[in-house]
Symmetry: C2
DNA sequence: CTCTGTGAAAATGTTCACAGCG
DNA sequence: CGCTGTGAACATTTTCACAGAG
C-alpha cells in the first residue's frame, strides 16, 4: 500500500528513534532487521513498531523483516533529513554553547550557521568558528543567509522578542528552550523543550514510590 | 472530589507548566486565577486546565477561580517538590556543564550535589563549587550522600554503565540525555530527553508546511 | 514456518456543553 | 451571574490477535 497518508503525531515522534537504530545497524553492517529487533533497540514495543512503519508504507518483507538501508532512506525522507537545515542559535549562555558544540545536530543534517546574543560581552566572540552577533542582526541575517530553523536558548524574558525577529527573518520552525510560551504566526512550527520540566515530571513518578508501569528489566 | 490519585500521565506532564505560571502570578501578587487565564499563560486550553486540576481535587471556587497560593502548594506537593531532591550529574561535557549551571533546577527543589566524568583531564576540576569525581566513585558517593536522582549527560556508549552505577548506588530516578536506551530495574524511573530528536521532529513538521523549498542547502 | 500488516478492541486523552455552586 | 467541575461525545493511541505473504 502506498500513496499519501497522514502520519500520526505519536508515530512522527518515534521516527527519529528508529532512524538512530537503523544508523547503528548500518554501521554494524546489519542489512535486515525485524520489528522485534527494532523494538529492543529503541525501547518501543514490536506491535507499535510495525504499526508505525506501516504508516510509511508497506516496506517490510513478511517472514524476513525490513531492509535497513531502504527503511533508513524512507524515514530520512519523511523527516526531511534528505537535505541540510540551516540553523540559527540565539543565546550563547551555558545551554546555547552546549548546543553549538552538540555533535548530535551536525551528525544529522542540521548545520548551525549563525549565533546571536544580547550580551555585549559575548558579541564579537567566536564559538566553533562562528562570530556571535547582536540580536538586532537576527532578522537581516536569517533572511540573507536563508536560515530556516531558529533555536531559542535565551532567558524567558527575551524569548518572545527573539521569536518575533526569527519569524520576521523568515524561519519556518523554532525550537524553544526558554521556559516561556511564545506566540508565532500559525505557519511557523514551534517545539518546546524544558529541562526543568522533565526533572519535575521525573520527580512526580519517583515520589509515587509504588509504580505499575513496566519500564525495562535487566 | 477525587478518589485516590490516579493522575493521568498527560496531566502530570502539564503540572510543571501550571506550576511555572502560578509562580509568576505569585510574584505579580495575583491571588486568584481563572482557568482561562491559566490557559493563556501556559498555552493549554481552558477545558483541559480545568480537567487537569480536577484530578488533584476540587480546589477551585465557582464564579471566582483558583487561589494561586493554595493551588501552587497542591501542585508542588503532587510533584514531590515540597522537599529537596539531591541530584548527581554524570558527564561534564558541554551539556553536563550547562546543566550544572542551569538556574532552572535550583529554582525548583533540585540540588546538584555531585559531578562525575570518566575523562581524566576533567576529574579533580571544580565546577560551580563541586569537584568532579571519576565514574568509579558514582556508586559509593550516591549511596553515602543519599542522592536520589541521576542525570546522565555522557556519550551513548557509556550510558548503560553509568546507569548501572547510579542504580547500584540507589537512585530511584534517572534523567537520560544520552541518545541511548538504558535498562534499569523496574522500580527505577527513567525519563529521556534527546535534543537532536526534537530538532528532527521539528524538521518533519516544517517540511510539511512548505509552499516552496524551505531555506535549505543542497 | 516466520514475521509483517492491519482490522478490531481497549485504553488514553481531548473537547464539548452545561448543571450547579458560590 | 461567572466560572468550576464533570459526564458524555469524540479523537487519538496502544495493544491484540491473526490472516496471509514470502
Amino acid at each position: 500500500m502506498s500513496g499519501f497518508r497522514r502520519i500520526p503525531e505519536a508515530t512522527v515522534s518515534r521516527l527519529p528513534l528508529y532512524l538512530r537504530s537503523l544508523l547503528e545497524f548500518t554501521e554494524q553492517r546489519v542489512t535486515t532487521v525485524s520489528s522485534e529487533r527494532l523494538a529492543t533497540t529503541t525501547g518501543v514495543n514490536a506491535a507499535k513498531v510495525r504499526k508505525d512503519l506501516s504508516y510509511l508504507g508497506s516496506y517490510g518483507t513478511r517472514g524476513v523483516g525490513y531492509d535497513v538501508e531502504y527503511l533508513l532512506r524512507r524515514i530520512q525522507e519523511q523527516l526531511g533529513l534528505d537535505h541540510d537545515w540551516r540553523v540559527a542559535i540565539v543565546g550563547v549562555g551555558n545551554l546555547g554553547r552546549a548546543l553549538v558544540n552538540y555533535r548530535g545536530f551536525g551528525e544529522r543534517r542540521f548545520s548551525v550557521q549563525a549565533l546571536f546574543d544580547s550580551d555585549m560581552s559575548k558579541i564579537g566572540t567566536e564559538l566553533n568558528g562562528l562570530v556571535v552577533a547582536g540580536t538586532e542582526d537576527i532578522e537581516p541575517t536569517v533572511r540573507e543567509r536563508r536560515l530556516s530553523i531558529g533555536i531559542i536558548a535565551t532567558p524567558a524574558a527575551s524569548a518572545q522578542d527573539v521569536a518575533d525577529r526569527l519569524v520576521d527573518g523568515g524561519v519556518t520552525g523554532i525550537l524553544n528552550f526558554a521556559p516561556a510560551v511564545i506566540s508565532v504566526p500559525k505557519q511557523v512550527r514551534v517545539r518546546k523543550v524544558d529541562l526543568s520540566i522533565e526533572l519535575q515530571i521525573l520527580a512526580f513518578y519517583v515520589s509515587g514510590t509504588v509504580s505499575d508501569e513496566p519500564h525495562a528489566s535487566r
